[in-house]
Amino acid sequence: MNTNKLNTKSSVIDKELTEHDKKIISYPKMNLVDSSDADSKIKRNPGIDFNIDRISNITVNRSAVERRCASYAVRRSIKKQQQAAWLLKAISLIDLTTLSGDDTESRVKRLCGKSRRPLSPQLIKSLDIESLNLSVAAVCVYHDMLKTTYQALKDSKVKLAAVSTGFPAGLSPLPLRLQEIEYSLASGADEIDIVISRRHVLEGKWRELYEEVKAFRDSCGEAHMKTILATGELGNLSNIAKASQVCMMAGADFIKTSTGKEPVNATLPVSLVMTRMIRSYYEKTGYSIGFKAAGGISDSKTALTYMTMIKEELGRRWLEPDLFRFGASSLLGDIERQLDHFASGYYSASYRHPLT
């Protein structure tokens, strides 16, 4: 079998477990969600009443979070076929994103093409995964690009996501922000990525934050709402934890780290804190909230570390597009090259793969 190592520092030869070595006594499953069946439908979070007691005692110890984060990549090994499988899964979790001032129809069309055919037919054939009918989870664009996207994604299972509510700063008038959601829904958006008012967090106005997000949720109707916390602007981990809880109480379907426009976007510590809040919300209410890590995840190794974290903290069920997303643009290219290496045994060049 070909070897495929992301960790180039590790030059050891892995060998398959022999029966003799296979003395593994516990590989238990997390029972967070009763059914581990990936297809099982989750109950949508309707939101719950605002309750300040649920957040007033939250404190997060940063050093402890960082120590835990340092363990995922070194304590869990994902190699060879497992690695290829995880990376294929990663593709299915991507919200392929373009959010630039210079976005044009042609670029968005190109992105949509790639989202439907994330891997080349030859690679799919050599991996023998035609039956997966693999695509990314969604394409994520500004409102003005929705029409083009809608046309390009017709008849595909790729979801249409629009950033909204005055993205990225969220400082336009509230009625306009609500209207923006309605516009996007009318243009065919399946998912709305809203931004919260960071000032509510920084000023400790938790009820205002709750009301704002609830209003967004009401506007979203059937469309799934991802709530962008813009964690890089929230000051500290405890604020991030509290904001996560408030957004879930207000009815978020997903909580999402960043717009991609903050000075610091998704980081592992921030993601762990949000993931733990999702777990505690689930334990209290029974509703599964999704998590989206956005911005700064551009290589396969980082993606695998995030997925490991999700599996460890929330369980296997969360590694499905209805509960976990990567917001990324260049990640797909790197995954493609890694998979190509898995299939051929040699590293590919980026120009040999279609542009994202």
Partner: protein
């Protein structure tokens, strides 16, 4: 499995670290190792063999020859012969050798990690990411200490030949902790690894030659407990450094009694893991994973006693049980495994038996997995619904077994944490810094971790109090364990007094009473002893103390615990006041020293003035001996705080009674200890004559207690009294031996000397940092921060 099946499952890889290189290395040595003596491996065909096994599957790694008495002797002789040149080498020369050892270990990280995992059963991730990097760091760090030794320790020299004995839980890391500081400070040594895990030490021996370690500086011998016992008790050894169980530590304490050996003991523990209601509970759960399931719980400082504030206990237990379900246990070489195999079948049975027997006495057992295939895989275990009297809450289990008990208030948490014979480490979990910093000094332990557990570094001292042993390893405080003062000069005893008359006509008959709990009290037994002046005439009568007097004095000292919490400034003020009051009695004292001690007026004046100066010195130090902040590689501070030992018993020297008594009492109380002093026999009255001055100097009752009587008897009573935390002793060899042997009961920290080892008048010998260091024990408090 097809790729599509893997896609659905999303399992981790069972990635086995290759052991090929390690197995080849073992093969290349014929899977047999002898002794490493004087730079060469020695093998004897007729040696007894111990099989070193891979505990996870029972495979033979190598046969280890047991060192015979001749080989032990040879190793010790080799160390002795290598000593002068190694001591004489400049710090830079030794630094280069330590640096080379660090580099060589670094170059061979992978094979060393694999050997360690094969031999011990710990997960490869831990040996590769924790044990071996820390061992390397230890050699680098101590290369630095060797380099700056002449400057930083100019008043000290090496001790000589050191015997070092380590356990099986961190074989190479313990080797580094022992060998690096010893050779950095110019000692030579004979090292014995545990018989279960000798392999990495054998690998290390091979590196010694390449590193340019001179022959005989590092010798490594193999064998089990009896070999260790012979090594520790060998007359050719100047110091013993031992890490292991408390029972073996106690045996070593007894075996070396009277041998004039320095001792460092790092022993067992039942460390508390204290979670307050305001802790980050997710952090605490991961902390517990690091604490009790690190290295299968085979860690002396494992946080094996979870103390959790009652209102959050259920919540924490639920979170913890969930986390236990995601712990992966299995083949240690598998890189996706958290918990490997216990070190041996014996250890497995021991843990299992303790848990089985314990659970019969109550408690609720939770194990994440019940399947137990072959091998020595003990599952992660949580036991709740027990109280502190339960055997599982008291005994060190040394396995992945956590017991949990609730507490209601902060003070109850401290009481429960301290309700143990041990005192190695503890962690405190709270997001409230006021609470954490308040609790840290109150827990009796050598290491306190705030919001973390099992953090180690070469720059920070590690070691315990109570039956967890004494001495520190790591940090500047750890280096003194391998040093002794250069400047001590032996002094001759004065001639015996010729007793002339039994009665004195000159004065009213005086019987000096004991000073206990701030009051002058008569001896319990009703016996008195006559003391004489230099001219042979009767001076005064003093009491003959007995066991009950000791009990009363220790009890008074124990009650005076508030003294240890006073700030240094206040203690300084009181000690200055004592000096002031003593100065008022100058004439009386000069006369007394002439009469009792036979000094000339000039000599008497010198001793009296030197005594006043000495009191001033320790008043000065009281608010200045203030510890350090260690520079460990993490975001946080590690504070090394010198803490009072507690109740300190002092067996006073015979000679220079005034200044020697003051030289003992003053540094002890300056650092916050409470003292029970047994006065010089010959000059018993001198210490008691200080009582009136002590009484008038605002020294709180019980802080200083003074008794007279038979030094040997009283010393033994003190050595056996569990409320006495430490003993300073200047006495005859037999008394010293007895104190050492008796103190093994609860492994008191001792600072013992054959009387006559120093000139008390000389401030370089009779005063200074050596005294302050021995009046304190360093507590390292780790405080990571970040928001």
């Amino acid at each position: 499995m097809t790729l599509i099946e893997s896609f659905e499952k999303l399992d981790y890889s069972d990635a086995l670290e290759s052991s090929e290189e390690a197995q080849n290395w073992l093969d290349s040595h014929g899977r047999r190792f002898g002794q490493f003596i004087n730079g060469k491996f020695e093998s004897r065909s007729d040696a007894d063999l111990i099989a070193s096994l891979n505990p996870s599957n029972g495979d033979l790694l190598a046969n280890i020859e047991v060192a015979g008495p001749n080989q032990l002797k040879k190793a010790i002789t080799a160390a002795r012969n290598a000593l002068p040149a190694w001591q004489a080498m400049d710090g830079h020369g030794r630094a280069k050798v330590l640096y080379a050892l660090a580099r060589l270990l670094q170059k061979h990280t992978r094979i060393v990690s694999v050997l360690e995992t094969l031999d011990n059963g710990k997960p490869i991730r831990e040996s590769r990411d924790i044990d071996i990097p820390l061992a390397i760091r230890h050699f680098y760090h101590h290369a630095g200490w060797a380099q700056i030794q002449e400057r930083e320790f100019s008043e000290y020299k090496s001790i000589g030949v050191v015997a070092q004995i380590v356990p099986w839980n961190f074989p190479l890391l313990m080797l580094a902790w022992k060998i690096a500081p010893a050779i950095a400070m110019g000692n030579t040594l004979v090292f014995k690894p545990a018989e279960q895990t000798p392999i990495t030490a054998m690998f290390f021996a091979h590196l010694c030659e390449q590193a340019g370690v001179p022959d005989g500086v590092i010798n490594i011998v193999n064998g089990a407990g009896t070999t260790g016992a012979s090594l520790a008790a060998h007359e050719g050894v100047d110091k013993v450094a031992f890490t292991g169980s408390t029972s073996v530590g106690r045996a070593i304490r007894k075996a070396t009694a009277g041998q004039n050996k320095k001792l460092t003991l790092e022993l067992g523990g039942k460390s508390a893991f204290v979670v307050f209601e305001d802790a980050d509970l997710d952090a605490a759960v991961e902390g517990l994973v690091d604490s009790i399931w690190f290295n299968q719980g085979e860690v002396c400082c494992a946080g094996s006693r979870l103390l959790v504030q009652a209102q959050i206990a259920d919540k924490l237990h639920t979170k913890l049980k969930k986390r236990m379900q995601t712990l992966r246990q299995g083949t240690p070489l598998n890189k996706s495994v958290d918990i490997g195999s216990l070190v041996s079948q014996t250890q497995y049975q021991r843990v299992d038996e303790l848990v089985q027997n314990g659970i019969e006495q109550g408690g609720e057992l939770y194990q994440a997995s019940t399947t137990q295939p072959d091998g020595n895989y003990y599952p992660p275990t949580l036991i709740t619904e027990i109280d502190s009297s339960h055997p599982l809450a008291q005994e060190e289990i040394f396995g992945p077994v956590l017991v949990s008990m609730p507490f209601r208030t902060q003070s109850e948490a401290v009481t429960l944490a301290n309700n143990s014979r041990y005192g190695l480490a503890a962690s405190i979990w709270s997001e409230n810094i006021n609470r954490a910093m308040d609790v840290a000094p109150k827990i009796k332990a050598g290491v306190i971790w705030i919001n973390c557990h099992n953090q180690f570094d070469a720059s920070c001292g590690f070691g315990g109090v109570r039956e967890s042993g004494f001495g520190r390893e790591g940090g500047k405080e750890g280096l003194y364990e391998y040093l002794q003062p250069k400047l001590l000069k032996k002094v001759a005893k004065s001639k015996p007094i010729k007793v002339e008359r039994q009665s004195s006509k000159e004065n009213i008959d005086r019987t000096l009473k004991f000073y206990i709990g701030g009051r002058q009290v008569r001896p319990d037994g009703g016996h008195s002893i006559a003391t004489y002046k230099a001219n042979g005439s009767l001076a005064t009568w003093v009491g003959a103390g007995n066991r009950k007097d000791i009990r009363n004095a220790v009890s008074a000292a124990t009650k005076a615990s508030n003294w240890s919490n006073q700030n240094g400034h206040l203690r300084a003020q009181i000690i200055y006041f004592f000096a002031e009051n003593l100065a008022l009695r100058e004439d009386e004292w000069i006369k007394r020293l002439q009469e009792i001690c036979g000094l000339t007026k000039k000599q008497a004046k010198t001793e009296f003035n030197a005594s006043l100066s000495r009191i001033f010195s320790y008043a000065a130090w009281a608010d200045k001996y203030d510890g350090a902040v260690h520079n460990a590689p993490y975001r946080g501070v590690t504070m090394a705080l010198p803490e009072a030992i507690g109740v300190l018993a002092q067996i006073a020297p015979e000679e220079k009674p005034l200044i020697s008594t003051i030289s003992l009492i003053a540094p002890a109380i300056a650092m916050g200890n409470r003292v029970v002093l047994i006065a010089s026999e010959r000059y018993a009255s001198i210490a008691l004559e200080l009582v009136q001055t002590l009484e008038t100097s605002d020294i709180p009752a019980g802080v200083v207690n003074i008794l007279t009587g038979n030094k040997t008897d009283l010393a033994e009573q003190l050595a056996g009294h569990a409320e006495v935390d430490g003993i300073w002793c200047w006495a005859e060899p037999e008394t010293v031996a007895q104190v050492e042997a008796t103190s093994a009961i609860d492994l008191k920290r001792l600072w013992v000397h054959i009387d006559g080892d120093r000139d008390w008048l000389d401030s370089q010998q009779g005063e200074g940092l050596e005294f302050l260091r021995n009046a304190t024990e360093v507590k390292n408090i780790w405080t990571p921060y970040g928001d």
